[in-house]
Amino acid sequence: MRPDDNMPGLLSALYASARRDLLLAWKRPGDILNPLFFFAMVGTLFPLAVGPSVEQLQFIGPGVLWVAALLAMLLSLNGLFLADFEDGSLEQLLVSPQPLVLLALGKTVAHWLTTGLPLVIISPLMAVTFHMPPQSIGVLMLTLGLGTISLSLLGSIGAALTVGLHRGTALLSLLILPVGMPVLIFGARSVSLAAAGDTYSAGVSALAAYAVGALALAPYATAAALRISNE
Amino acid sequence: MDALAMGGYGAYVWSCFAMTFAVFVFNSWRARVRHRAVYRDLEVRIKAVEERL
């Protein structure tokens, strides 16, 4: 049998990589629930800490929720490659005949589906606790969706660079911070603008452009980073 | 004397310039010290190896 027979195509490699991580996450619901719980926790602790004033909560709502989402993503990114690194599966990925770029992208997609997407889904609930006006909730979901996509993609570069390093989590946070900032700014401010009834399209377009750029470029950087960290 | 006062902003202006001066001095000194330390350390190691040969 020639080695070319039965060699999976590129798309199925991507799919297989994503599917694997999704199954793993399904078996360990804690991985999905932890960031969600963190997000919800921040959402409930802030009103308790600053007081029930509706006006005040509405004012800080977009910012607080966005920061909470950013931190939740950050917490989960650390584990993106860690489990595979520890049990040797990462090496298998590296020597696989499939392009590493696609395999890494598959894992990143799975990460977004298990972390970013759930955040988007429960965000309306959190928006309610901050009394956010209805017209801003849709924008909140949209910006969180686009923003978390960028964060998963760009965060995977940081995760690849720091996998297995001593104090990796702290370092990862430091590395992600400058990258997550534009996302935070565009996202949170767009939601604020929407809540005030102003036009918010500029911020949303910027987020969309950022996500597209990240999708096009980040996987390559992640693959390079994976190779470097595991030589 | 009004050079020192800088129209009332003296403290601000002079602290900035002093800070800048300090940064330059520190950078220069640190680079020199570090280079010398690395060099001395290498000297010791390499000469020790040479003695043994």
């Binding site: 570069i157 660079l161 720091t162 390093l165 001593h166 104090r167 990796g168 370092l171 430091l174 590395l175 911070l177 400058p178 990258v179 900032m181 534009p182 700014i185 565009f186 401010r189 603008l193 500029a202 911020g203 910027a206 950022y210 470029l217 950087a221 390079a224 980073a225 470097i228 960290s229 030589e231 | 050079a3 800088m6 129209g7 009332g8 902003y9 003296g10 601000y12 202006v13 602290s15 900035c16 310039f17 800070m19 800048t20 940064v23 330059f24 520190f26 950078n27 220069s28 680079a31 020199r32 570090r34 280079h35 690395v38 060099y39 290498l42 000297e43 190691r45 390499i46 000469k47 040479e50």
Partner: protein
């Protein structure tokens, strides 16, 4: 030309060249800074809006400019090292980082001090440049932290190179996002957008300072590169030979 570049990439040649070149950069650099500082402090007329406080511009702007130049140097050197596998390029990046971070801190400190009499606060989030500088500082810290977290030099070089490049791509985006953000409510800025529409007596000292800072930075980074090279090449024959031959080392 190509042989010149090839020679330059060779550590022993660069080591010697950097030694001779250093003073040629440092001396004119310090002279320009001395001239610029004197003229900026005593010769240039006070600004009609900010009075004598505007003189901080003569250290703040060069520091900020250099903080960005150093990062660009770091990113370009990282790219060259990564793509063409030139070890010396990685040494350049490693040497530039702490200097760049120092200038960034200086820019932030002088910016903050300048802000106090101007805005009444030690910090103004509405100033996009100050905020971007802060993020630049985090970029530098991240780079240096990553370098020190990885023991193997080659690995550290490559990993931090990737980081530097990703950061470089992000710098314009960060700047753009902060500008947009601060434009949402008009915040006061430190340096008037007018720029060189300045009175020449005010402008020349500034130019002198910028060029002077750059030259001195060049001299300091060269010295740091020499130290990096010395350490990285510590097991090679040329280093061994150089240390064993009695000669005056600085």
């Amino acid at each position: 030309m190509l042989t010149f570049l090839h020679k330059m990439a060779s550590p022993p040649h660069f080591y010697g060249l950097a030694n001779t070149l250093g003073p040629w950069l440092a001396v004119p650099g310090y002279l320009l800074i001395a001239f610029g500082a004197f003229a900026g402090l005593f010769v240039a007329p006070p600004d009609y809006q900010q009075g004598d406080a505007f003189r901080i511009i003569y250290v703040h702007v060069p520091a900020a400019y250099l903080s960005m130049m150093a990062y660009m140097l770091m990113a370009v050197a990282s790219g060259i090292g990564l793509i063409w596998r030139i070890k010396l390029a990685h040494a350049v990046a490693a040497a530039a980082a702490p200097l760049g971070a120092a200038f960034t801190l200086l820019a932030l400190a002088t910016g903050s001090i300048w802000g106090k009499p101007m805005w009444g606060t030690w910090w103004e989030w509405g100033d996009p440049r100050l905020t971007s500088e802060l993020i630049l500082l985090f970029l530098y810290f991240g780079y240096m932290a990553l370098r020190s977290a990885i023991d193997d030099t080659v690995k550290a070089d490559k990993a931090s190179a990737v980081l530097a490049l990703v950061g470089a791509v992000n710098v314009p985006i960060i700047h753009f996002s902060v500008e947009w953000w601060s434009s949402l409510h008009q915040g006061p800025t430190l340096v008037k957008e007018g720029g060189p529409a300045m009175d020449p007596a005010m402008l020349y000292p500034l130019l002198a300072m910028i060029v002077g800072f750059t030259l001195v930075f060049g001299a300091q980074v060269l010295r740091r590169i020499r130290t990096e090279v010395l350490y990285r090449e510590r097991r090679t024959n040329w280093v061994r030979h150089m240390i064993l031959t009695p000669e005056g080392e600085s």
